[in-house]
Symmetry: C2
């Protein structure tokens, strides 16, 4: 039974992490024009997103679960500006669309890398402090911390391949 | 072009609302044991969820978009207790699973009522004050406010049939 007990070396499945690492590097390089540096992935032990601006994508089909692209406010502002080619205010529909589209591209690219017959949902974008995104407790959540010249972000991957 | 301009009588598509109204009534009656009263649906004009505990389900296939089941804290506590058959604390994985499962059943039932070939994602559960769930700006979001003896909740439907 998986439990959130103290453990120094949780198991990280490279077959799940690597497609997302490649996807983040590709999407951020091609679409935002920045090099993303990937840090050591870890297993999330609490139901709290890493940063306060999140694009959430659901997977269904033979991959189920969800993927959250989570940004700090300042990173999101700069990344969105570079991606959209103009400054967009947090809280506007265009800003949410841009965050959602980044999440969509990372999830879509990773889906192809994963090689499964899955569909991905349109993104939901959640903005605010003090909220938590909890995925299903039966699927562990891997956090892939990333950084780039615009600031920090993370990809939280909570999927299962069938 | 759809824009969030002042309008007293926004268009509400009964073909989209009715499957959710039926789904909410069915699921809450059968699975929670309460009668849900449905109030007048309205078009959401701001990117803010109606209540602070949300189960989000993504749709893909020939229905795209997302559906959010949004509860007040007190309604969620009582509904989850009745649904799960035991008291669960907000913030625990079991509580999030129960909220997610309610969202999943409402979305799944509505999907069958809608008659489309769509997949629904596993739920993401977001808990906290002061957050906003923004869906794609190209799809209007209909809020269906609901009430029952345990308190208030709402179904926020932001989907498009292709």
């Amino acid at each position: 039974m998986p439990q959130t007990v103290e453990t120094k070396a949780p198991p990280i499945d490279a077959k799940i992490v690597n497609p997302f690492v490649t996807a983040v590097r590709d999407v951020f390089q091609k679409m935002v024009g920045v090099e993303a540096t990937i840090q050591k992935p870890y297993l999330k032990m609490e139901a709290k997103t890493t940063h306060s601006i999140c694009g959430i994508i659901g997977f269904s089909g033979n991959i189920t679960g969800s993927v959250v692209l989570s940004f700090s406010n300042s990173a999101a502002m700069k990344l969105v500006e570079s991606f959209a080619g103009m400054k967009l205010e947090i809280g506007t529909p265009d800003f949410a669309d841009a965050v959602g589209e980044l999440a969509n591209m990372v999830a879509g690219t990773a889906k192809r890398n994963l090689g499964g017959l899955a569909s991905i949902s349109v993104p939901s974008v959640v903005i605010g402090d003090g909220f938590a995104v909890a995925s299903m407790s039966s699927i562990p959540c891997l956090v892939i911390p990333c950084t780039c010249s615009y600031g920090d972000f993370a990809v939280e991957v909570s999927i299962k391949k069938h």
